[in-house]
């Protein structure tokens, strides 16, 4: 029983590793194909061709791409993420602080949005067809349809410009007290919660409704079970698989997809770092960011799969 689960998990992890490698390879060659040249961008427009050629030589930019890729991978095995082209700093140092920031934002958003979305989804399913259900449905569809930059910009307009309650920019380093922290995180977290909750609400509601129409839930009804018992004891455990998958997909957005929110609020997270890196053709940095996004995604999906397996006695 347990060895079966262990086997499944190991298999999942192996697949995850292969996926990671393929993604890294694809990202590397996609960035190599970008127009523009790192050396000339670094030296600016006034640089002489000789200087550019010299820098290219020094940075091993003339080596075949595959060689550079392998060299970077080799470094990775030693825990070395490489050195940034743009400012000669180790990539690990550049990413470190940013990564913590992104995780903080993602963590706070998760803590708020997941319980909120699950509660709304489950209650909407329980009261299917009621006014409450319709309001939740309309709101969540509305939120899906509004692009996040709209939400972000409007909340800046409202809270920062008119009401002047919150700062428009989220400079994490200026936080000294809890109130500061709440003021700084409020708007990015609200915006992100809007973006990721809608999907989770819809999926949770659909999954619970689907299991509510199964014969075993009707059986529970005919045993005299209350509505709450039918949903929590009979429907929910069997809807867990699809729900955790929806949650994982939504949360994966918090790692790589938050670029718009980070930019609007000037939040020093990792997605913003990556976009800046693209502008300077800073390959090692792009590569490392992509790896982190991919890892985050794979971690969430694998975790969701494992939860789904554990919740199903037929697979356990």
């Amino acid at each position: 029983m347990t060895s079966g689960v262990l086997n499944l998990v190991l298999k999942r992890l192996a697949i995850a590793l292969v996926t990671l490698l393929i993604v890294l390879f694809a990202v590397f060659f996609a960035t190599s194909m970008l127009p523009g040249d790192t050396a000339s961008i670094l030296l600016g427009q006034a640089a002489t061709p000789e200087a550019v050629a010299g820098l290219r030589e020094a940075m091993h930019l003339n080596d075949p791409a595959i060689l550079r890729f392998l060299r970077w991978l080799l470094g990775l095995l030693h825990g070395d993420l490489g050195t940034s082209y743009a400012n000669e700093m180790p990539v690990a140092a550049l990413i470190g602080g940013r990564f913590v920031n992104t995780m903080k934002l993602a963590g706070i958003t998760t803590l708020i949005s997941v319980p909120l979305a699950l509660t709304l989804g489950i209650t909407a399913a329980m009261l299917r067809g009621s006014l409450y259900d319709r309001i939740v449905t309309v709101l969540s569809i509305g939120v899906i349809s509004v692009p996040e930059f709209m939400v972000a910009t409007l909340s800046v307009l409202l809270f920062a410009v008119y009401l002047k309650w919150l700062p428009a920019l989220s400079s994490v380093n200026e936080a000294h007290s809890l109130t500061d922290l709440v003021r700084i995180y409020a708007m990015p977290v609200i915006t992100l919660t809007f973006v990721i909750s809608a999907q989770m609400i819809r999926m949770t509601r659909a999954a619970v409704i689907e299991t509510l129409s199964t014969p075993y839930v009707e059986m529970a009804l005919l045993k005299g079970a209350s509505r709450g018992r039918m949903v929590l004891r009979h429907a929910l455990p069997n809807a867990l698989g699809p729900i955790v998958n929806a949650v994982a997909l939504s949360l994966s957005y918090l790692v790589g997809g938050v670029i718009i929110v980070e930019t609007i609020f000037n939040y020093p997270g990792i997605a913003k770092l990556m976009v800046d890196a693209v502008a300077t053709r800073d390959l090692p940095l792009i590569q490392s960011c992509a790896m982190i996004f991919c890892l985050g995604y794979l971690f969430l999906i694998t975790a969701a799969d494992i939860v789904a397996i554990m919740s199903n006695p037929r697979l356990r």
Binding site: P215, K223, G224, A225
Partner: protein, 551 residues
């Protein structure tokens, strides 16, 4: 109040997809005395399950109890609030569902679900409830009663689940138990054990019951009284003996008549020198990875040989899991055989359908059990039937249209049906369209895989009659796969009995009374008879049962 149940002038309405209100129970009245078992019998759509569920005050989504009284144990279920009804469910009235396999929550153990009623209604402490459950398991002759509760639903067989569902119903000491077609999904050999267990427990506890079924023979074994329903109205009611021997209403007579299909007149002597149309030697097919010797890991069909002669029919009979459907799929090439020779019309066929010539494919057609899933729900009937006409015969639009009319006529469907979608047809009509599609190819052999098992008795016997007629007109041969002996008997010249992937015996219908192989004996003797004393008088060789019965 003298009776346990008194239903007066009950009306139940349903809202159709179009938003129209239709009455599906049209003023039914019904009495059940203490300890009496009443059977509700009728075809699908007659409202028997709806009526049974209404005794618990429950109407399925889209339905509603519109008028009338449902007095159960002195309380009017129709007038109570949902909360008050919930208090009576599981304690006063309990329910045994049609498919126990679907009605057990897959994520929780059997014991947890069996004693849930005692938790919900706080009847007794969990320890005591568990003890009581084990007693019930023993009374229902379940194997390993002390430990079976610790398993999950997918770990026990269908017949066991059905009895566990009965234990789940009985734990709250109900006065009335509703059985909703509890043995329909079971094999005949298993059905006997389940019926016997139900009967003895109900009798011992003096519990009243409602037994919903479409199978008169099963009902005859267990019910004191029978109520015949059609179109939401009571057609006839009487004691079991009255209904079986002196049915008054034409519909009841039709039901009884359909139960005993006319045996097929022997064609054998017409032309003695028939040629084999299909002959199969040592066919093996299965699932899972191939072992080094080329055989699959799990052999669903194990070196089966058979011959179908031109214009003759071969019946294949056996219980679920015996490999009869895999055999059909292997012959048709949908599931290529691992080993074995298939010679059709003098030429050897490739195992995989993809490698057979178009003409070979055309001459052998397969008709599946569930017309619902075999017909494309998005296409009208004419497109469904016209597809093989274009594919095999390359007919142009006008010729196709003409041929569709002819084919519909052949399967006795009105031409106007061609514009309908499958969802707008009844079960019998769908199966006829399914069959017309096979006929469209002009086949020589049609493999019928349980084509009547999803149909009501009366409808099924009409379909069988149709198959016989078409055979006479078109010189077809059928391979007729079924678990229902009476159906196979009615249409086949030869009957092959399968057990565990192997061919056990092949006999002719007139010798069904005296099979030679022990498994055939067990199988044939397990088919319920209309005689109400049949179950009680049935003596089975315990050795046979332990050898072949999946319990």
């Amino acid at each position: 109040m003298s009776n346990l149940v008194e239903v007066r002038n009950l009306k139940i309405q349903a809202t159709t997809d179009a938003g129209r209100l239709v009455e599906i129970i049209k003023g039914v009245s019904l009495d059940i005395a203490d300890g009496e078992i009443v059977a509700l019998i009728g075809e699908s759509g007659s409202g028997k399950t709806t009526l049974a569920l209404s005794l618990m005050g429950h109407a399925r989504p889209g339905c509603r109890i519109a008028a009338g009284e449902i007095n159960v144990n002195g309380k009017d279920m129709a007038a109570l609030s949902e909360k008050e009804r919930a208090k009576l469910r599981g304690t006063d009235i309990a329910y045994v569902p049609q498919s126990a396999a679907a009605s057990f929550n897959p994520a929780s153990t059997i014991m947890e679900q069996v004693i849930e009623v005692t938790r919900i209604h706080r009847l007794m402490p969990p320890e005591q409830a568990r003890k009581r459950a084990v007693e019930l398991f023993r009374a229902l002759s379940l194997p390993d009663p002390d430990n079976i509760g610790a398993r999950y639903p997918h770990q026990v067989s269908g017949g066991q689940l059905q009895r566990l569902a009965a234990a789940m119903a009985l734990i709250g000491d109900p006065k009335l138990v509703i059985f909703d077609e509890p043995t329909t999904a079971l094999d005949v050999t298993t059905q006997i054990d389940v019926l016997k267990a139900f009967k003895s427990v109900m009798r011992a506890g003096g519990i009243a019951g409602v037994y919903v079924s479409h199978d008169l023979a099963v009902v005859a074994q267990i019910a004191d009284r029978i109520l015949v329903l059609k179109g939401g109205e009571v057609q006839e009611t009487g004691t079991t003996a009255q209904i079986l021997s002196a049915a008054q209403h034409p519909y009841t007579q039709e039901l009884l008549a359909a139960f005993e299909p006319k045996p097929r007149q022997a064609q054998a002597d017409a032309d003695a020198a028939t040629k084999p149309l299909l002959s199969i030697e040592g066919l093996t097919a299965g699932y899972g990875p191939a072992k080094p010797d080329g055989l699959p890991l799990v052999r669903a069909v194990d070196s089966v040989s058979l011959v179908v002669e031109k214009g003759r029919n071969l019946g294949v009979i056996g219980e679920s899991g015996c490999g009869k459907s895999t055999l059909a799929r292997a012959i048709a090439g949908i599931h290529p055989a691992a080993v074995g020779e298939i010679v059709f019309d003098g030429k050897e066929l490739e195992p995989a359908a993809g490698k057979r010539s178009r003409d070979q494919l055309r001459e052998m057609q397969i008709v599946f059990q569930y017309a619902d899933t075999a017909l494309n729900p998005a296409k009208p009937v004419e497109d469904i039937i016209a597809r093989p006409l274009a594919f095999y015969h390359g007919l142009d639009k006008r010729a196709r249209s003409k041929r569709v009319d002819e084919l519909l006529d052949m399967v006795r469907l009105p031409k106007a049906l061609r514009y309908r979608h499958p969802s707008e047809l009844s079960g019998g009509q769908k199966q006829r369209v399914n069959f017309a599609r096979a006929l469209a190819a002009n086949p020589k052999l049609i493999i019928c895989d349980e084509i009547t098992s999803a149909l009501d008795t009366v409808v099924a016997s009409a379909v069988i009659e149709l198959l016989k007629e078409l055979q006479r007109e078109l010189e077809l041969s059928y391979i007729f796969i079924s678990h229902d002996l009476s159906v196979v008997e009615a249409i086949c010249d030869q009957i092959m009995v399968m057990y565990n992937g192997e061919r056990v015996e092949q006999i002719t219908p007139d010798k069904v009374k005296a099979p030679s192989h022990p498994y055939s004996k067990l199988l044939f003797s397990s088919v319920p008879k209309l005689d109400p004393t049949w179950l009680d008088g049935l003596v089975r060789d315990p050795e046979l049962v332990s050898q072949y019965g999946h319990r």
